[in-house]
Amino acid sequence: MKQIVILSGKGGTGKTTVSSAFVKLLNNKITIDCDVDAANLFLLLNPKDQKQFEYFGGKKASINLELCSQCGLCESVCRFDAIHDYEINQLSCEGCGFCYRACPDDAIKFTAIKSGSYFECSLQDKSKFYYAILLPGEGNSGKLVSEIKKSALNNVDEKTKWVIVDGPPGIGCPVNASLSGADFVVIVAEPTQSGIHDLKRLVELLKTFSIKSGIVINKYDLNEKITLQITSLAGKENIPVLGYLPFDEDYIEAIKANKTIVEYSSHAAEDIKNIWAKVEFFMDISKN
């Protein structure tokens, strides 16, 4: 089994478009959407037989005013500015439990709270698909990513050839969590000033993980000068360019039709097949 994670640093460069296309092309796979803040992959894959699981990401503190002697110790120890006038702001509470442990009156409750849900479903080819929805404003998105990956990987058996992971944007904690156990990272980059800026930061992050990667340049013809810069950056960093996808309204039309690009456009399907062939090639020839 090989695990492929699709990342981009910058949002909106085409992670989900590329992930969904891979999912459509491959057999014997498990698919995981790790963008738990804003999951979109399910919109294109039409999953069925959905089973829902609740996710308790952490605890939050609250004050029982009947027991509280208003000593103010909780407010003074809280580093997250969550406690004012003997009341704990649930959005600011970090869930560290410091106040709960410090309270001399045992007036603080510290209880597990639901921070989201995750879903196990089946795709048309009967393969398993996982995604999650974080409750608005919750922290612990990295933990939810780990949780959903863990339950998905429990279903890996000898027939499973691929685990496809649609990653979150950014380079922070959920991205780190989505990278655990990855064999190869497909970076989807776009030729814009912001795109190359964010790409460089992602490449730096991946170096610390020593995971092999390759770059897909999406909307390459939007700015061929920056596309060239990305290509030369890739060369310098010893990262293969897996392929170039054009700025093409077909990609938006496919999403609007709730279809993957390989179902919508035959020439795009060819491009994606070529990219996947390179993924397999580069994953095999060199291991860091």
Partner: protein, 294 residues
């Protein structure tokens, strides 16, 4: 006044909208809180005048005093410490710097030492916009402390434009929570609509007045308009889907600098926001007055 610009989905044009807005407001303050991938500086091209380290605190064990009683492990809610009996092992990226281990250690064997988690950069643009952003160190997991630090640069008597991180989790809430108005930027696709709904849930939850900007606007995607009409949500600006805008953006050029029409639209947008926050403000004072009457 604080106006935050957010979007559930990445790549919808948050930074473009935020930077455009800041550019049409004289003497504005631009605060980039997308610390994982800050891009505002690429559009506004400020001259950075200073850069300071932002630190988080990490526990350091004094092994002369530590007797491996395990209290620090017990009070750490984030499993950042492991007791090996000859060493207390710290997983730096798990530590939330809450300080509980230091406080509860019965031997006073723990001190907290600062470690850099990112940088706060300050500067000014040619048009006299004050510019601040946070740059999270690569590999660092927690963005919130850096976001808090960047937000200390807000100047209450001026108009502050905050560029938020994408998503709907803690970083976004931390960025938006004390804004006077929130602009939600979306795009005319099912992804855009799905993530817009999530973002609306958050801003409603934290009680910030908001309006919607539809970028890459495509009138054939009627689901977006239907949803907004049904929920009585105002569309404050529509920016057309146009390859030329995308090309200009790719070179770091804001649409207000390539189209007079869009510049006028943004000036209209800020006037609209000012009107809305004013009327909200009166409503709020009225509510308060009623409350005190009781």
């Amino acid at each position: 006044m604080i106006i935050s610009v957010v979007s559930g989905k990445g790549g919808t044009g948050k930074t473009t909208v935020a930077a455009s807005l800041a550019s049409v407001i004289p003497q504005s303050v631009y605060i980039d809180c997308d610390v994982e991938e800050p891009n505002g500086h690429l559009m506004l091209q400020p001259k950075f005048t200073s850069e300071e380290s932002v630190n988080k605190l990490l526990p350091k064990i004094d092994y002369e005093k530590c007797d491996f009683c395990g209290k620090c492990i017990e009070v750490c809610e984030f499993n950042a410490l492991i007791n090996l009996k000859f060493e207390i092992l710290l997983f730096e990226e798990m530590c939330h710097s809450c300080g509980a281990c230091e406080y509860f250690c019965p031997k006073n064997a723990i001190t907290e030492i600062p470690k850099e988690l990112g940088k706060l950069r300050s500067g000014k643009t040619e048009n006299d916009i004050k510019f601040y952003d946070g740059l999270l160190n690569i590999g660092e997991a927690t963005a919130v402390p850096l976001i808090k630090k960047v937000k200390t640069k807000i100047e209450n008597e001026k108009i502050n434009i905050i560029d938020s991180p994408p998503g709907t989790s803690c970083s976004m809430v931390e960025t938006v929570k004390d804004s006077d108005f929130c602009l939600l930027v979306t795009e005319s696709t099912p992804f855009g609509l799905n993530d817009l709904k999530l973002a609306i849930d958050v801003v409603k939850n934290i009680n910030v007045p908001f309006g919607v900007v539809i970028n890459k606007y495509d009138e054939t995607f009627v689901e977006m308009e239907n949803y907004l009409t049904e929920n009585e949500i105002e569309v404050m600006l529509r920016i057309p889907f146009d390859r030329k805008i995308a090309e200009a953006y790719s070179n770091g050029i804001l649409p207000i600098n390539s189209s007079d029409k869009i510049r006028t639209d943004f000036i209209g947008l800020i006037d609209l926001i000012k009107k809305k926050t004013k009327s909200n403000g009166t409503q709020m004072t009225q509510k308060k007055l009623i409350n005190t009457d009781f």
